[in-house]
Amino acid sequence: VPESVPTSAPLRRRVTRRTTLAAAGPLLALAGCRWGPAEEIDGASEAQEDADAALAETASTAIGQQLAALRLDADAHRGLAGALAPLIALHTAHLGLLPTVEVLPESTGSPSSTKAWARMQRAETRLQQQLADIAVSATSGTFARALASMSAAIAQHLADLPPLANRGPA
């Protein structure tokens, strides 16, 4: 949220310290700046700020890996592409608020669309829980709120998935 992101010189210094992050999103990628209203920011310690930056990077990596896996599955199984599109769009939007972290897909694709579909559901469920766990650990309430909403969005999309039977041949 722009009003919560300080634009002072100290912020710029902190952002540039984060050399592990390739680029920053609209929220200056979270890392190196703090989420939350001014009073929350003023009360946070530098250690807490660094902890949230690390959590943001962890969340970005997890989402990025799942996004890469989804794209592989969508390319390998044309029948799944349409059903996976909303999840791909969702994760892409979420990554837009997080620091850019280069990731490589952990999976190499599934031989069948049925297996790919089942693996996707398990992976999304894990990601949903991981984002919720990160939200609980976050120091900034505003950051936690955003992560919790991302987690809830994944749950929503999972609940709205069409049945595999409608996906067509692999």
């Binding site: 949220v1 722009p2 909303p86 955003a146 909403s149 809830a152």
Partner: protein
């Protein structure tokens, strides 16, 4: 700060219980069995969450706020309007719990996240659509 946040959530749950009690009375079990089940399930969930919040607020040494005498609602004289009001209720609860996430820590925050997720998913039962940031829609434009 946390007690105030919990009181805000309690106020939202008082309203949700009131709304679903009304909607239950406006839904025909014979004509709309699926909607009837969804409304009654939602009523039970929100009543349970309200009771939980009352306990948590009381345990924190505060006086749990009471429900309003009544709530101003639109006309709910058709199944479509029942569905629309239920969906709006869940969306408002999702927003309330997203705010509670920001204003709590630890186990209470974890509870708020589960409540946010439940409201986000439950609105799908009432013809809602998946969102990018349920409960925090302003993030969509960032």
């Amino acid at each position: 700060m946390t007690v105030e946040a919990l009181q805000d959530a309690l106020a939202a749950e008082h309203a949700a219980v009131w709304v679903y009690a009304l909607l239950g009375g406006r839904t025909s079990r014979a004509a709309e069995p699926a909607l009837y089940d969804d409304v009654h399930t939602a009523y039970r969930v929100h009543r349970g969450r309200r009771d939980q919040l009352i306990s948590v607020v009381a345990d924190a040494g505060a006086e749990p706020i009471a429900a309003e005498v009544g709530y101003q609602l639109p006309a709910v004289d058709t199944p479509a309007r029942v569905v629309a009001l239920a969906r709006r209720t869940e969306q408002r609860c999702a927003a309330t719990y997203a705010d509670l996430v920001a204003r709590t820590e630890g186990a209470q925050r974890g509870w708020a996240i589960r409540a946010l997720t439940d409201a986000a998913v439950r609105q799908l039962r009432f013809r809602g659509s998946p969102e990018t940031f349920p409960g925090a829609g302003e993030l969509t434009d960032r």
